[in-house]
């Protein structure tokens, strides 16, 4: 199955300029598993989303539809075939 990860402009340089990355994954993958696959394809992109312990960075929001995955099961949130993950920076930075 495949999941689409949509990127904000500021992160596209870390994915070769792409607006979105198609990630193939087995079964019903979690958001974390999709990110792990993302790391294989674009390691510099994954580092911007999660820290070295695999924790989603505080001011990074990942939406599945209208839902912030933090309000679902976080990185354990299960995804179905064709799901779209939208990554957006939260309001931060001073």
């Amino acid at each position: 199955m495949a999941v689409v990860v949509k990127l904000p402009t500021v992160l596209r340089p870390f994915a070769g300029g792409a607006e979105q990355v198609d990630v193939a994954a087995a079964g019903e993958p979690t958001v974390g598993a999709v990110f792990a696959e993302l790391e294989r394809k674009h390691p510099a992109l994954r580092r911007r989303l999660t820290d070295e312990q695999g924790v989603l960075r505080r001011h990074v929001n990942v939406f599945l539809g209208d839902d912030n995955v933090r309000d679902l099961d976080g990185l354990e949130t299960r995804l179905s075939d064709g799901a779209e993950l939208l990554i957006l920076p939260s309001v931060a930075g001073g």
Partner: protein, 362 residues
């Protein structure tokens, strides 16, 4: 034809000043790394061509260390990242506070100091860094505190001739030193006051803001403390106050002249509870006798009331001849002196808060 480069790390990106070997007139380029707090910059002049470093932190996307081999026109980082805690350390990098190339006799070695308090060593010229486990596993680590800026190793002083010897300083925690290449570390804070503890002279826990020494006299060290300016003549074993003659013993940076081991510079602020320049005047204080006497330097610095502090890494020297000295303020001004601080030239104004400056003549 030599040229001079001045890296200016600010709260919102990096600017680069460029000049010739005279260092009297500067042009400014930037910003790069927009929306990143560039807390650490470095210039490695040891190799065939100089390598620049920038350690940025994005509030969104985290910290990263970049290097440039074309004097800051383009920047690289390895795909897997330059620096990050191993899983078993159970920690995440928050910020890189210091990037310090080792002496020329240790080619390829570059140290980094980071938050949470950790020392890192690169042996590939600063492309990738490994955690120095001896200090990370130190039994004191659980008792190191965090100042307002966070708990960080902000100063790394490699010994100029003995690769086994390194001193570091952290806020809070104080000075630690190794003489076996980083395997074992001991605190070196005797005589440095920690006014925020019931026992003001603890073994460790001091809030040392910056440490400096001259490579010709490595056993003599200078420290600007969270109240207190000190000198040690025995590599940090005993510290004695050299604050007499200064308008205040509070401040953040301290640097030594590149060619005069007796000449040292500080930027006094009124006090812990009032962190603006003394007499609302932008003044660098210089001692030419290792801290026995001090004189204010103002020629070319603002002659109007000035309330902007200078942060711990925003005072630096270059290795040019005569030696240059540079100052960056929290109101975004940068000044350069090519005559040991006697006169100053404005390099930039109205930048974001200046966090760090580093310069070199190449």
């Amino acid at each position: 034809m030599s040229e001079a480069v001045l890296l200016i790390g600010t709260k919102k990106g990096l600017w680069i000043g460029r000049s010739d070997a005279e260092r009297r007139k500067w042009t400014l380029e930037g910003p790069q790394f927009e929306m990143q707090g560039v807390y650490s910059v470095g210039v490695d002049t040891r190799g065939e061509r100089p390598r620049l470093f920038a350690g940025g932190t994005s509030e969104h996307w985290g910290p990263a260390v970049f290097h440039s081999d074309d004097l800051g026109r383009t920047w690289d980082e390895p795909p897997e990242g330059s620096i990050g805690f191993p899983k078993d350390a159970e920690a995440s990098l928050e910020r890189v506070w210091q990037i310090q190339p080792a002496p020329a006799e240790q080619p390829g070695v570059v140290y980094a100091g980071a938050q949470p308090s950790s020392l890192w060593k690169s042996t590939d010229g600063g492309v990738t860094f490994d955690l120095v486990r001896g200090l990370w596993d130190h039994p004191h680590r659980k008792d190191w505190g965090a100042g307002f800026g966070g708990q960080a190793i902000h100063t790394v002083l490699p010994h100029p001739t003995d690769p086994g010897k390194v001193s570091v300083a952290m806020s809070t925690g104080g000075v630690y030193r190794t003489d076996d290449g980083g395997e074992t570390w001991e605190p070196a804070n005797q005589g440095i006051k920690a006014s925020f503890f019931p026992d003001p002279y603890p073994e460790f826990g001091q809030c040392v803001h910056k440490l400096a020494s001259h490579p010709d006299v490595p056993e003599r060290m200078f420290a600007q403390n969270h109240h207190g300016v000190y000198r040690s003549d025995d590599s940090g074993t005993i510290w004695k106050s050299i604050a007499d003659g200064l308008p205040s013993d509070f401040g953040f940076p301290i640097v030594v002249h590149p060619h005069e081991p007796e000449t040292v510079y500080v930027f006094p602020l009124i006090a812990d509870g009032n962190r603006i320049p003394t007499d609302a005047t932008c003044r660098v204080y210089r001692s030419r006798d290792a801290g026995s006497t001090w004189e204010p330097l103002t020629n070319g610095l603002p002659q109007v009331p000035s309330y902007a502090p200078v942060l711990r890494d925003a005072l630096c020297t270059d290795q040019g001849s005569p030696g240059g000295i540079y100052l960056g303020t929290r109101d975004g001004c940068v000044y350069a002196s090519a005559d040991a601080g006697d006169t100053w030239t404005e390099v930039a104004r109205h930048l974001p808060d200046v966090l760090t400056v580093r310069a070199a003549v190449i």
